[in-house]
């Protein structure tokens, strides 16, 4: 079953690859490693994402925590994404981040939040969408850390469908 070609599909593909080995560890500080690895897989088609994830990774090394790194990355995004990326690349990256955020939620809640977050993303100005999406990713990540969400049936189903 094909996942399609949009940014959400790209995120799902990336997550499916990583989920085979350690998706259950997203609740730990290994998330940025996962993101960087995922972005590496899509480097050619989505260079803007690589830039975002590399920025988060660099900041994580400076700050020591992913959530702090994401907060600082959000503050620096306008500068990091200024050039040479086109608006469309930023928007795709925003949808990509949003799809990752949703995948960090319990499977039964993902459809609801995907629609809700997409509606909000489309209601903010284009140049702030990436920051908005990164903020949501950070919020869900922190929520997941505190609540200890685990990936369960939803991930298995997607992996199964892929094969």
């Amino acid at each position: 079953v094909a996942h399609g070609d949009g940014p959400e599909a790209s995120a799902v593909r990336g997550l499916d690859v990583t989920s085979e080995c350690e998706v259950h560890r997203y609740g730990t500080e290994s998330l940025t490693d996962e993101l960087v690895r995922m972005s590496g897989k899509h480097a050619r088609e989505e260079p803007a994402q690589v830039s975002v994830f590399e920025l988060i990774k660099r900041l994580e090394a400076e700050t020591g925590t992913v959530s702090e790194a994401m907060a600082r990355a959000a503050a620096r995004l306008p500068e990091a994404m200024a050039l040479p990326f086109k608006e469309s690349a930023r928007s795709r990256s925003a949808h990509f981040l949003l799809a990752i955020a949703v995948r960090l939620l319990p499977p039964l809640e993902r459809d609801r939040y995907l629609e809700e977050f997409r509606a909000e993303l489309l209601d903010v100005p284009g140049h702030t969408r990436l920051t908005h999406a990164l903020s949501l990713l950070r919020g869900v990540f922190v929520l997941r850390l505190r609540r200890g969400f685990k990936n369960t049936a939803g991930d298995t189903a997607v992996r199964g469908a892929k094969g």
Binding site: A74, R112, E115, E116, R118, A119, E120, L122, D123, V124, H132, L134, S135, L136, L137, R138, G139, V140, V142, L143
Partner: protein, 126 residues
């Protein structure tokens, strides 16, 4: 029904919802009203909904007709509104009522730190 941690952002969100407890508010509208990032506001909504203080629903439209996803609206439940008012009132009690130390905890002559005068030490030269 549980109770959320009354952090400053949680208080801000509750106050915004309490401005008109029966009105449904769009998530982004709350973010703008309180000046907080969506990544801060949505986890708060998540917790408030989990404990039954807040309820939400998608707007009643057909996405394919309007060409955009449905927005989700939040509002306080009846119980949630009462509990939120109580919780905010407790948070805003005068500070001296919350921080008074129990006397005698560390030995020596104890006194209310804020509400009472400091006792004179016997034999002091002041």
């Amino acid at each position: 029904m549980g109770s959320p941690r009354m952090t400053e952002p949680t208080q801000q969100v509750l106050r915004a919802l309490l401005e008109d407890p029966t009105a449904e508010k769009y998530g982004l509208e709350i973010c703008k009203a309180v000046g907080l990032a969506p990544g801060t506001v949505h986890p708060i909504f998540y917790r408030l909904e989990e404990i039954g203080w807040v309820e939400s629903r998608f707007e009643d439209i057909e996405p394919s007709e309007v060409g955009r996803p449905r927005r989700r609206y939040y509002r306080l439940t009846r119980d949630g509104a009462e509990l939120a008012r109580d919780a905010l009132a407790r948070v805003h009690k005068p500070r001296r009522q919350q921080t008074r130390l129990r006397p005698g905890l560390v030995g020596g002559a104890a006194w209310p730190m804020v509400t009472g005068p400091k006792p004179r030490l016997s034999g002091g030269s002041t």
